[in-house]
C-alpha cells in the first residue's frame, strides 16, 4: 500500500480499524460479503485521501464511506432506493476504542472467516482480508499467486458463507489453527513480502482481548517466542542459520519477555482437569530455547519433559502428531544419547519417511553420534525432499560439510573451507 511515512495515518492504524468497522456493519444487519466488499473499497479510498486530508474520526469515516458503497450497490442492483445516502451520512462518533470491544469484533469476524465449511486456504485468505484489512493484491503476493486467482478464492469463500447462520459461537480451535497457519507462512517466507508473521501476531493479540481461553494466549506466546528469533534465522547471504548456530545477540529480548509473560499467565489458569494444551506446551519449549544463553546451555531435560506432555496430548501420537514425536526424538538424542534419539525416529519411518524433516533430524542425530558419513547420507536424502529453496540449499551444505569432515578430500584441495563459512 502507498503509505506515506510522514502522514498522520499509517497503514497499521488504518488496518486496526478494519474488524471494528466491519463488525459494526454486519451487526447492523448488512450482509457479510457485501459489507466486506464495501469496506475494501473504502480502505482503498482512505489510502488515497487520508495522507492529504486525515479524518477527525477515522472509524466513522470508514463506516460512512463503506455504507455509501453499500447503498450504491443496492441502488444499482434495484434502481429504486432514493434517500439512503443522507441517512447514512452522519454516523455518531464512537467513544475511544475500547480494548474489549476491539477483541469482541475481531472474534466475531474470525468465527465467520474461519468457518469449518471453508478450506484452510480460503479461511486464511478471507481472514487476512476481512479481519486483517490486507488488499487482495497483498494477499496474492504473500502466496505467490496471481491477483485474479486470489480474488476468485475470496469471492468463492464469501459465496459459501452466504446464507449460513452465525447464531452459535464458532470453533475457536479452527480460528487458532488458521492464525498459526498465517504465522508459519510468514515465518518461512522471505522478508521482502507482506509480513504475515507480524500480521498473525497482531490478529492473535487482538483475539486474546476477547477470550480468556488459555490456548489463544498460548498461541500468542508461541508466535512471539519464535518471532523473536527471526532476525537471526537468515544470514546476510540469505542462508538459513539453525538454532544452535544463531547469533543470540540478534534475538528480540522484548518480544521474548512478552512471550514468557503471556505464557505464564496462560499456564497459571491450568487445572488438573485441564492440562496445558498444544500451543502452550510448544510455547514452553520455545521459551526454554530462548532462555539459553548459548546452544550448549540449552535445558534439554526440561525440554524433553515438555515434549513428553506434548506427545501425551494425543491418543496415537505417531499418527496424530508425528511432528511432536519427531521434536521429542531430538530432545531424547540430547538427553539420553544420539542412538536413543535415532531409535525414536524409527517409529516414524512409515509416517514421515518421505518428508525432508525426518531425514534432517536423523542427519542431526547421526552428527551428534559422530557418524558423519551416515549424517551426510541423511542430509542428502533430506535435500532431495526439501520443499523450499532455502531449506534445500541449507541441507546440501550440511551434507557436503558432513561428507568432507567424514573423509577429508584426498586430492589435497583447499583448507580454507572451515574458516570461510565459520559454521564448522
Amino acid at each position: 500500500m502507498a503509505g506515506e511515512p510522514t502522514s498522520a495515518w499509517d497503514e497499521g492504524a488504518l488496518r486496526a480499524l478494519v474488524p471494528r468497522v466491519l463488525a459494526g456493519l454486519v451487526r447492523r444487519g448488512e450482509q457479510f460479503d457485501a459489507a466486506e466488499d464495501a469496506l475494501q473499497e473504502a480502505l482503498l479510498e482512505a489510502l488515497r485521501v487520508w495522507p492529504a486530508h486525515p479524518p477527525r474520526d477515522p472509524r466513522a469515516w470508514l463506516t460512512t464511506v463503506a455504507t455509501r458503497r453499500l447503498v450504491d450497490a443496492r441502488r444499482s442492483e434495484a434502481a429504486r432506493q432514493r434517500r439512503e445516502e443522507e441517512s447514512a451520512a452522519a454516523e455518531p462518533a464512537p467513544a475511544a476504542a475500547d480494548a474489549a470491544e476491539v477483541g469482541d469484533d475481531t472474534l466475531f469476524l474470525l468465527f465467520r472467516c474461519c468457518h469449518p465449511a471453508l478450506a484452510p486456504a480460503s479461511q486464511v485468505a478471507l481472514t487476512l482480508r476481512a479481519v486483517g484489512g490486507l488488499t487482495t493484491r497483498e494477499i496474492a503476493d504473500a502466496f505467490y499467486v496471481p491477483e485474479a486467482t486470489m480474488a476468485q478464492r475470496i469471492s468463492r469463500a464469501k459465496r459459501t458463507l452466504r446464507g449460513r447462520r452465525f447464531d452459535r459461537p464458532g470453533d475457536l480451535a479452527v480460528v487458532l489453527r488458521v492464525l498459526y497457519l498465517v504465522y508459519t507462512t510468514g515465518h518461512a517466507g522471505p522478508p521482502d513480502r507482506v509480513d504475515l508473521a507480524a500480521e498473525a501476531i497482531r490478529l492473535t493479540r487482538q483475539l486474546t482481548l476477547a477470550t480468556a481461553e488459555p490456548e489463544a494466549h498460548g498461541l500468542l506466546a508461541l508466535m512471539l517466542l519464535n518471532h523473536a528469533r527471526l532476525p537471526a534465522r537468515v544470514d546476510a547471504q540469505g542462508r538459513l542459520v539453525t538454532l544452535d548456530r544463531q547469533d543470540r545477540g540478534l534475538w528480540d529480548r522484548r518480544e521474548i519477555a512478552e512471550g514468557v509473560r503471556v505464557l505464564q499467565a496462560a499456564l497459571a489458569r491450568q487445572t488438573d482437569q485441564r492440562p496445558p494444551g498444544h500451543y502452550q506446551v510448544e510455547a514452553a519449549i520455545a521459551a526454554l530455547h530462548d532462555d539459553a544463553a548459548s546452544a550448549a546451555e540449552t535445558d534439554w531435560p526440561q525440554i524433553l519433559s515438555w515434549y513428553d506432555d506434548l506427545v501425551g496430548l494425543s491418543a496415537d501420537p505417531v499418527r496424530d502428531d508425528p511432528a511432536a514425536v519427531l521434536g521429542r526424538a531430538v530432545a531424547v538424542g540430547h538427553v539420553r544419547g544420539a542412538a536413543a534419539g535415532l531409535r525414536e525416529t524409527d517409529r516414524l519411518r512409515d509416517v514421515l519417511g518421505e518428508r525432508h524433516r525426518w531425514h534432517a533430524v536423523r542427519g542431526h542425530l547421526h552428527e551428534l553420534d559422530g557418524d558423519l558419513a551416515a549424517a551426510a547420507d541423511a542430509y542428502a536424502e533430506a535435500a532431495r525432499r526439501a520443499t523450499t529453496v532455502a531449506e534445500r540449499d541449507h541441507l546440501v551444505r550440511r551434507a557436503a560439510r558432513a561428507r568432507a569432515a567424514a573423509s577429508p578430500p584426498a586430492t589435497g584441495a583447499r583448507t580454507s573451507a572451515h574458516a570461510r563459512d565459520g559454521e564448522t
Binding site: R384, R385, V396, A400, R403
Partner: protein, 138 residues
C-alpha cells in the same frame, strides 16, 4: 521483447561435457561458491532489467494421464531411464535478442563446479511464444 526460458536439468540432454558427482559430494567451499554464483546471476539479470522469474523444481516426477470416464487417473512415477529429461528449474528472461538469451545461458553454464572450475552444464534455451502479435504482422 522476446522472452526465453533457460532450463536447467537434473538429467537428460546432450552428452555432458564432463561427469560430476551430486552436489552433496562436493567440497563445502565449492558448494558455497556455486550458490554464490547463482545469487549473482539473479542479481545481474535484475540489474540489467532482464529478469522475469526463476524457479527450482523438486526432483520427484509423476506422469499422469486421464484414465477414462469411471477410472482413476493413470499415474506413473518411475523408475524412469537415466536419460529421462528431468527439469531442475529455470530462469525466465526478457531480452532484446536470441543472441542475448544464448549469452546468458552460456554464462549460467559457467557456474563453478567441484574443484572450482566451470560446470559446463547444458542449458536448454526455449523461446516463449508471445501472446500478442505485433502490429506490423497484421
Amino acid at each position: 521483447m522476446p522472452k526465453y526460458l533457460l532450463l536447467k536439468h537434473y538429467s537428460g540432454g546432450p552428452e555432458p561435457h564432463h561427469p560430476f558427482p551430486p552436489m552433496d559430494q562436493w567440497a563445502p567451499e565449492d558448494v558455497e561458491a556455486h550458490f554464490a554464483f547463482l545469487r549473482q546471476v539473479r542479481a545481474l539479470l535484475e540489474e540489467t532489467g532482464e529478469y522475469v522469474d526463476s524457479q527450482a523444481l523438486a526432483p520427484t516426477q509423476t506422469w499422469v494421464r486421464y484414465g477414462g470416464p469411471d477410472a482413476a487417473p493413470v499415474v506413473t512415477d518411475g523408475p524412469l531411464p537415466e536419460t529421462n529429461d528431468l527439469v531442475a528449474g529455470w530462469y525466465l528472461v526478457d531480452v532484446e535478442t536470441r543472441e542475448r538469451a544464448v549469452e546468458i545461458a552460456a554464462y549460467i553454464s559457467s557456474e563453478p563446479g567441484p574443484g572450482g572450475g566451470p560446470l559446463h552444464e547444458w542449458i536448454d534455451v526455449r523461446e516463449v511464444l508471445s501472446r500478442s502479435s505485433s502490429p506490423s504482422e497484421e
